[in-house]
Amino acid sequence: MISYLRRGLLQYLRHSRTLLGLTVLGVALGVASVVAIQTLNQGSLLAFDGSVRAISGQADLSVTGTLPTIPESLLPTVLGDRDVAAAWPLVRANVAVSGRPDLNLDVVGFDVFAPVRYPLQDAAATQADPFASLHDALVQPGWVAITPELSAQEGWKVGDVIRVSSGSRALALTVGALVDFRRFEPLAPRRLAVMDIAQAQEMFGRPGRIQQVDIVLRKGADAAAAAARLQAALGAGVRVQTPEQRRQDASQLLAAFRLNLTALSLISVFVGIFLVLTAVQASLVRRRREFGLLRSLGATRAQVMGLVLGEAAALGVLGVLVGIPLGWLAARHNLQTVSATLTSIYVTEGIDKLTLPPLVIALGAAVGLLGALGGALLPAWDLSRRDPLRLLSPLSVHEAAGRAAGRLALAAAALAVGGSLWFFTLGHGLRLGGFLYGLLMLLALPLLVPLLVRSVCGLARPGGFGFALSLRNLLARLQATGFAVAALAITVSMMFGITILVGSFRQTLVTWLDVTIRADVYISSESWQRTGNDATLDPALLETLRTWPGVVSLEEQRRLRVLAVDGRPVWLNGLRLTDRPLPGVPQADMAGRLPLMAGEPHAAVAALRAGSVLIGEPLARKAHLGVGDTLRLAGPGGEVALPIAGVSYDYTSEGGTAFVAMDVLNARFDAAPPNNAALFLTPGTDVEATVDALKNALADRPLVIRSNRTLRREVLAVFDQTFAVTRTLQAMALLIAALGVSVTLLIQAHERAGELALLRALGATRRQVFGLFLGEGTAMGALGLLLGLGGGVGLAALLILVINRTWFGWTIRPAWPGATLGLQAVVVLAVAALAAVYPASRARLARPGQLTRDDL
């Protein structure tokens, strides 16, 4: 049987190269989308790991603060613990490279005399002075060591000056050496830079404050016990964590992002399985007589089934072999946007180097193989249970066509009802509930295909050699064409679902921006986005801005990452509220700018002044907090409890956001100048001209000065970038579905050679036959579109109403992005038609003289 399998396969290869190619490509695309997404997903974690390992690879524990900084005076306490073998302080800063909006340096200030092993390559070393760099690191202002990768990328050599900024301060670093982190940690970020702690603290930090203490424990020490002891000794303002705990924090931060991508890639797999199903089914239909013969010659059912599954497995293997490199390429293609999303939305490491982890390879292989086998299982079982005689007899086309349609539709209904019941009683409590529900619904969708095809195509009354005949032909070959239609329907569901979600989200965001972004000019620094709290604006600069011609009010804002008592990260925003009323500038009224979903605006503003807090919707949902509750934050000296005066819509972070008066932030958490300023101008002032004037006057400052309009545009650009990767996934799924159409029709062209020959004999031209097939492809597209539209709306509802609320915690108002959907519908039809071109061109070659006894 094995040798038969081998021969059969070779034959298949010889005779059906195109079919085989398309099927393999389909499997490959399914595998590729999983590999691509998982590679990126892993990449996002590995990038964080790489960074942690490069900087703290030796450490068993790290001490960080509930606020971004901790006092350096806690170091002796750490060093005095009985299990500590070494401990050293780190000053961390993320600084912007001037004139390079996309480039920042992750500066690590370390004690060059501590036993921390950073792989510096001392270019300045000579025989006479082998530690020249060490001396320079201490005394040469701005001495920094950069990675060889960054050096190569930017052309920065030892001795070159890098202009950077932190907040409104412009500073100069001098490359003094290279630090080759990748020698020890292949995934180390290229933008790591190290310098002596004293210089780093002076340039980017604050006196007496550091970001981290890394600890090496003595051999045999109990890390958990040591962590607990240190935690107790150091107090509530710090966290003592193992690298694994820090990794989990990062992993949690990205959970929703990663899950979304995974879910999307699974749809590609789902579609891919349908493709395999189509192809295997086709190959079986085609070879049923061969199998009938084998059976009548004594092959058992198991043997036949094994044969079929063996062939499917071979397809799977080929698909995997192609799919994994393909996925790798796709991942690399999307690296930039995903990385940009990570850095701009999640304020975590961007990915600048991808690896293909063995786990992802294994996953891709499993998906390809199991998908192929899963796709073959049903037809193989179907085939093996038939009796040999029936297999040998000429195929009656109406066989089973539409017969099960009603039953399948019932099953779909049962699935939908059961799934809904489950979800609305139990499932919605589970975090993954929404996804499972969506999966169930997507599973129900293909079951509706036979009914839909029967209903729609049954209506077709061909009165000519046209589309109606194509529809009727589809109905006739329901068993063969149904899978392709189902695959299309799922793809379209996904496309439409995502499109509606993104469109709704964007519309919601625009509305929200309308409410909240009301000032005329916004000022922040180049490094603010990533550095946050430490990117401060010089008070003198604020004074300049305040007195700028046309400015009626300046609003200060500061953003500080703190931790809630339960360990949840919260972005705490301090607002300096204007005290004087501003007649004629109604948009400056804070109450009018609060997009509150709970609470009364004027009361909320008053409460804010009095020391209350406003929280964002995601925080409210995730921490189950509401107006009247208390937000408990970990302050530097212990718990800070703030009464909640309102809950506002918030789309700035899927974690927690909260707003307090600036005085509260300064007094109870950490006093520092603001990070951002917003200017309200006298009504009638030319905003853009003011922005230009400010830019000119402050050209030497590393500031980002934006008008209301520009800021809005940039916010939306970031939004669009976040969803860019979904477009690739949509395209891949569509491509797979299109391959399904191609494969199906290609098989049809072969299967229906007799019919086509007859039509040709009856006077149909080649062009007419071509058109007939094109029509069938388009019809499949149209049917998929029809079913997918329903699925898409359902999916969108699920995404908007359930999944986004659960995972991201924000309210999205449903909107109908009609133009985009219309365009996508046209694309789907066009792609389906295009997918039919090759099969149609094969069909048109049918020879009218080749009618045989068995045809039709």
Binding site: G754, G763, G849, R853
Partner: protein, 230 residues
């Protein structure tokens, strides 16, 4: 000329059979079929009967000689032109009926009209009319699956005659039917073709059925012998 719907001059068909030269299926066949004439074509298996019909229908192009269909030189026509000529002038009946199983009787009959882009209503009416003439008028909307062989061939007959072709080519139209049914179908074929004014060229193994034609041609090893007009 114009009174000949089909005319073959020295038609030779050699299948390319690789080394050792080709096999000559038709060898210098000359024939002329007058409009309205019914001719039976007889001969042993492999004598070239089906090839002759294919050549006549423009489905196959002879390797030598000339074929004229309704005054048009098929041998000098493109594939597209031959298809159109076939569509306009030829009706085909096959031994195995070759109905489209997913279409109704009426639709099967109507297919040539669809292909030609004829008026839908007229095509439909014509199909119904033909089906009524073969006794299947009340089943025009049924699927073809449940028909008997004879009924199927009657449907096929209607299909061949739908557009009133000047030439009907039938390849063993009774070959898969029992004798009685075969006779009935043959009767219908002859009768209706005549009624429509078309010429008929049919292949048969049955001397009895051959005898019903105006003339009989016999093919022997690719050569056309004048047969007994029994």
């Amino acid at each position: 000329m114009t009174d000949h719907i089909l005319q073959l001059d020295a038609v030779t068909m050699t299948w390319d059979a690789g080394e050792g030269g080709g096999r000559t299926v038709l060898d210098g066949v000359d024939l002329a079929l007058a409009r309205g004439e019914a001719v039976a074509l007889v001969g042993r298996s492999g004598s070239g009967k089906s090839t002759l019909l294919h050549v006549a229908a423009g489905i196959a192009v002879p390797t030598g000689g000339r074929v004229r269909l309704a005054g048009h030189d098929l041998t000098a026509s493109s594939e597209e032109a031959r298809t159109r000529l076939r569509r306009e002038h030829v009706g085909l009946v096959f031994q195995f009926f070759h109905l489209l199983p997913h279409l109704t009787l009426r639709e099967n009959v109507a297919v040539p009209g669809w292909i030609a882009g004829d008026d839908r209503t007229r095509t439909r009416r014509r199909a119904d009319e033909l089906l009524a003439r073969v006794g299947l008028g009340d089943r025009a909307g049924d699927a073809v699956g449940k028909l008997s062989g004879g009924e199927m061939q009657r449907v096929a007959l209607c299909r061949a005659l739908l557009r009133g072709p000047a030439l009907v080519l039938a390849d063993e139209p009774t070959g898969s039917l029992d004798d009685r049914t075969g006779r009935e179908v043959m009767d219908l074929l002859l009768e209706m073709t005549r009624a429509e004014g078309g010429a008929l060229l049919y292949v048969t193994h049955s001397p009895e059925l051959a005898a019903r034609a105006d003339r009989t041609w016999r093919l022997v090893d690719g050569r056309l012998l004048p047969g007994a007009a029994a």
